[in-house]
Each structure stands twice: as C-alpha cells, then as structure tokens.
C-alpha cells in the first residue's frame, strides 16, 4: 500500500474519530430538554426569555386547550414560591393537584425543617377555584395569617405559608 494512501487513511481516521466526538457533543446540545428552567430577573436574559416564552407557547398546545376551557378570566395560571429556599420556582397550573411536602414524590419538594413530608395540597375544585388543604401537617399551613383547618379557596396573590416557604398563586 502506497505511503500516500496510508497517510490519507491515517488522517481520515483521525478526522472521522473527531467527527464522532463533535457529533456526540451536538447530540448533547440538542438534548437539553426536560424541565425547562427559564431564568428571569436579569436584563441580559430578557431576550432569551422572550424567545423561550414564544417557544413555550408553541410547545404545549394540547395542555393549554385542556385547561383553557374551564378557566375563567381571573383564574391564576401559575403557582410561585416567593420566599424560602425554592424562591422563584413556578409551577404552571394545569388542572393537576399540586402536593407540597418533604416527600420526594411531591410536586414541590420542600427542603424546609418545618415542613411535614406530606404537608399540603393545592387542587382545583370543579368550578376551577384553587383550593389549599392542609394534610395534617405538624406545623400547619397558613393562608395569610390564619392557620388552615379546612380546605380553603386561595385568593389571587394571597400568601400560603409553610414553614419558611411562602407560596402564592399568580395570573
């Protein structure tokens, strides 16, 4: 086999090997999905956030339709954690029950010494009002300043306090 052919093969092999690595990295790049975390609050992120918002609108149309029918105009669309270690976390309200607690299968896993493992749940009733119910927690769930004893509808923007964590519903 001529020297030239071997040299071409040698360089070609290295090129192919690196191509594989580069393609693998591209796969990783395109693999960034799962829970979509949208950073907000900093200015340079604003552009990207808009893009993502546009994409987000395009992405789950069926979920939107499913909940959209029942929802009234003033209905909250998201649950926001406004104080505590999870500050800034939001969960879209799509008609599902949201469980809060230290248990790992909770929708919002509270890393809070004052929270019980199954602390409270937030769910929509048949009119689409969101209800918060304390699940027999040790330290209680507070809506505004009062400790919950029965399932209670949540007014928009009212703080729900669990230990050091504060949650509210927003539009």
């Amino acid at each position: 086999m001529s020297e030239l052919t071997l040299t071409v093969m040698r360089l070609g092999f290295l090129a192919v090997l690196w191509l594989f690595v580069i393609v693998a990295v591209q796969v990783i790049r395109s693999d960034l999905f799962g829970t979509r975390v949208t950073q907000r609050g900093s200015r340079r992120e604003a552009g990207r956030q808009q893009q993502q918002a546009a994409r987000q609108q395009a992405a789950p149309p069926q979920q939107r339709q499913q909940s959209g029918g029942r929802q009234r105009r003033n209905a909250p669309t998201k649950l926001v954690v406004s104080e505590g270690t999870l500050t800034g976390t939001t969960v879209a309200l799509q008609g599902q029950t949201i469980t809060l607690g230290r248990a790992h299968d909770s929708t919002i896993v509270l890393d809070d010494d004052y929270a019980s493992s199954r602390h409270a749940r937030i769910y929509p009733d048949r009119d689409g009002n969101w209800i918060v119910e304390d699940l027999g927690s040790t330290n209680g769930t507070y809506l505004d300043r009062s400790r919950l004893t029965t399932p209670t509808p949540i007014p928009l923007g009212a703080p729900i306090r669990i230990g050091k964590t504060v949650i509210e519903l927003r539009k």
């Binding site: 796969v27 599902q96 703080p159």
Partner: protein, 482 residues
C-alpha cells in the same frame, strides 16, 4: 411579600414540563457511526500490515454490529427514554479496543511470547457476554430502586469479591498484584465487579445516613468538621482500601474504592471537608504503605525514574527487585506517535511485550493515533462520564442520583488511574482501561455498569405521567357541603 422578579439571588426560574422525545433514532444513527469507525480502523490495520483488506473484516464488523444492534433493540424496547449517547460511546470504545487487540495479535513478537494471537476473537466473545449482561440488566432490572433493597447484601457481596483474590489456591499473583482469581484456565478480576456492587451499597447507605453526616458538624476555618463518631464510615472504608493496598498490593483498586466513596460522600452531603479528609487520608495511606511494601516501591520507582529503571532492567540487574521497563517503553510509544500518530498498524507498541494489549493498550493508541487520536478517545471517556453525571442530575430519587454518581465516578477514576499510570502521571497500577483493554472481567463488568446507567437514565428522563384527570369533572358528580 417581596416580588420574585426583584430577588438579587438569581433563583428566579420557571419549571415547566415539556414532552421529551425518546431519542432512540439518534442513538441508532450514532450507533451505526460507532460501528463504522472500528470497521474503518480494522481495514486500515489490514492495509497497513498486509497490504490487503483483512479477511475477517466482515466477521468482526458484523459481530460488533450485531451486538450493538441487539443492545439497541433491547434499549428501544425496555428503556425507551434512556440517554442516547451512552450505548454508542461504549460501543465505539469497545470496537476500537477490538481493533487494537487484533492489531497486536498480528505482531510476531507478541505471538512468540504468547501474549497475542486470537485474543481479538476472545475479546469479541467477552463483548458478547458483556452485552448479554447488559441486556439481562435492562430486562430484569425494571426499576433501579429495587437495588436499594440489597444495600447490605451488596456490602457483604463486595467484601467477598474483594477478598476472593486473597484466598490461597484461588487467588493468582500476576506480576506482583494479587487482584485476580483463577478458576481452571480462567482468570477473573473480581474488583471490576466489586466496583458496581460497592456503588450500590454506598448509594443505599449514604442515602439513609447522609443527613447525620451532613448536618452534625462544626464549622472551622471555612470547613465543616464532622463529629468524631461520624467519621466512622469513612475510616472503615479507608481501612479496607489500605488493607487492599497491603495485601493485594494494587494501588489502583485501592484508590478506586476509596475515591468512589469520597465522591459519593461529597455528593450526598455537599460538604467539601470530606474531599479534604479523603485526599489527606489517601495520601497518608499511600505514602505509609509505599514505605514498606516492595511491590509498590517498584512501581513508585518506575514512576519517578522510568529511564533509570529501564536501564537497570536492560542491564539485567540482579538485586532481587523486579525492575519495570514498561513505564519508559510506554512513554517512548507516546513520544514516537507524536501529534498525528504513525497510523494504524505502523507503530511498534508490541515492544512493550506482556500487557501490551491489556494495561498498556493506551500506548498503542498513543503511538498509532497520536495525541490527536488519544485526546479524542479520552474525550469519549469524558462524554460517558458526563452522561452519567447528567443522569444523576436528572434522576429524581436520591438513591438513583447517588448510584449514577458512584458508577460514573468509579468509571472516571478507573480511566484516570490507568491513563495516568500509563502516561507517567501517577504510579502504574494493575487496572485496565474500560472497554479498550483486553480482559473479560473488565469488558463484562463495564457493560453491566453502562446497563445500570441506562436504566437510571431511562427512569430519570421518562416524562412524568399526564396529570390524573380531575374526578369532579367526570360523569360522577360529588356533592360537597360548601
């Protein structure tokens, strides 16, 4: 009530679910690529050595392709949301290993000393066994959390595996390191399997104990000092790793297990102090043992003065110490490879003689593919580790997280220990490069490791089930007192 958009800490984030694609077709495409590269390399070796395309091209190509195809189909069926890269990356390394072993098989020198010849066929059989174990792991391990039940059984199992080479009559002393057992004509390296079993034990144990290990501590000079009694586990694991070092005289195995534990301890507790303690303890242990263990001393000497040791071994020094010439030979192999390498089949790494196709296989890659090729291979290892850590990040249960970190950490440490040893960064050890090196235990155990990682990644990446429809909007209406 402060508004979240104004919080100075950049915690503000929105978590929204989106449908995750399964990425199985990406995996298939990458897998085809990962099989084509070794086939190309194989043809290249044949053309360089014999001026013709080797006769076994179809056989090896089809063999590797078939194994990869089976693995892919099983993943498609039993772990549809698994990471798309783990399988192709492992297949590529395994395929390249096969080619390098076959290439060394062609060497008359290695054939004459019985190190080479037909080893590639053996390796292909080991690969088949490894893929079988991979398939079995995926089919029978429906959920990695079942492994959690066997936490303490795993501990016992791992100890037995680690102690096996010390049993007289069963253990085999191969070039000074006692990390093999011999059954009939087979030699098995139980440490490779112990790695996986031990990761299961550490994950199960740390998941339960991590709060005690993380919270009960005092702060001192920016470090959290654990209480004396919480040091128990790390001391026990350290003692075991020291015992391995003393009795099996293998730095690599010892470093691997202790390092894996420290990594998992750090991940479980988020305390930097464990890393500091771990590094201190392993340094003290290694230096302490090296001061009296002759086998380790030889290795350290070969690491510090490779050229001197080479001269001694060439001169036939009869001072009763086995002088290693390989450390220097490996460095020469890397040197003669240069940046772009000599090309497949045109190097002389067979001069390393024994262990040329196992411990020192990286020297063959370094010589024939050069720095460029070696870096690509190390990157492939890096990507496997990255996907493992990524799986740990995505995993929702703490056991899965710890297990994925432990397995990928052990994999990374093994690559570091072997590559570092061959390249002269740390003293040489008796471990083998995962997937590349010749050796049944290593290939089989690492395929099982990839299988478990794929299982965890499938669980982690599987989209959450759709929210249960609200019973109140169904036909049955619940009348509630309001």
């Amino acid at each position: 009530m402060s508004s979240t958009t104004n919080t100075p800490t950049h915690h503000t984030s929105t978590i929204g679910a989106i449908g995750a694609p399964s990425r199985r077709n990406t995996e298939l495409a990458m897998l085809v690529f990962a099989v084509v590269i070794p086939v190309f390399a194989y043809a290249n070796v044949g053309l360089a050595i014999d001026d013709k395309v080797p006769a076994g091209l179809l056989g090896y190509g089809l063999g590797l392709g078939l194994l990869a195809g089976v693995a892919h189909l099983v993943v498609r069926r039993f772990a549809p949301y698994a990471d798309p890269l783990l399988l192709p990356l492992a297949t590529l390394l395994n395929g390249l290993g096969l080619v390098a072993i076959w290439r060394l098989d062609q060497s008359k020198l290695l054939q004459s000393i019985g190190v080479a010849g037909g080893k590639a066929t053996n390796q292909l059989i080991y690969t088949a066994l490894g893929i079988t174990l991979f398939v079995v792991a995926l089919i029978f391990l429906k959920d990695h959390r079942t492994l959690q039940r066997y936490t303490y059984i795993s501990m016992a199992g791992a100890l037995v595996l680690l102690l096996l080479p010390l049993i007289p009559g069963l253990g085999a002393n191969v070039y000074g390191a006692k990390i093999w057992i011999q059954i009939g004509s087979f030699t098995i390296q139980p440490g490779e399997f112990a790695k996986i079993v031990l990761a299961i034990f550490f994950a199960g144990y740390l998941m339960v104990k991590r709060d005690a290990l993380a919270l009960a501590s005092r702060r001192f000079m920016g470090l959290y000092l654990p209480r004396g009694r919480d040091l128990g586990p790390i001391v026990v694991v350290w003692m075991i790793s020291i015992l391995i070092l003393v009795f099996e005289t293998d730095l690599g195995t010892s470093l691997l297990f202790f390092g894996m534990f420290v990594i998992m301890l750090y991940v479980a507790t988020e305390r930097t102090s464990w890393i500091v303690f771990g590094l201190l303890m392993s340094a003290v242990g290694a230096v302490g043992v090296a001061s009296f263990e002759p086998h380790i001393q030889t290795r350290v000497q070969a690491w510090l003065n490779p050229l001197h040791e080479y001269k001694l071994s060439q001169a036939g020094s009869h001072d009763g110490i086995l002088h290693s010439e390989q450390a220097m030979q490996a460095l020469w192999a890397f040197g003669s490879g240069g940046t772009l390498g000599t090309g497949w089949g045109q190097g002389h790494s067979e001069l390393i003689r024994f262990a040329a196709n196992s411990d020192f296989i990286l020297a063959t890659f370094g010589e024939e593919l050069g720095l460029a090729g070696l870096m690509a291979i190390l990157l492939v290892y890096g990507l496997i580790v990255e996907r493992g850590i990524r799986t740990a990040l995505a995993a929702r249960d703490p056991f899965g997280k710890l297990l994925a970190v432990g397995l990928s950490g052990a994999f990374a440490l093994q690559v570091f220990v072997v590559a570092g040893g061959v390249m002269g960064l740390i003293p040489l050890t008796g471990m083998t490069m995962p997937f590349l090196a010749y050796g049944g235990s290593s290939v089989i155990a690492n395929w099982a490791l990839i299988g478990i990682l794929i299982r965890i990644s499938d669980t982690a990446r599987r989209p959450a089930p759709a929210p249960a429809s609200n019973p109140d909007v169904e036909m049955t209406q619940v009348v509630r007192p309001s």
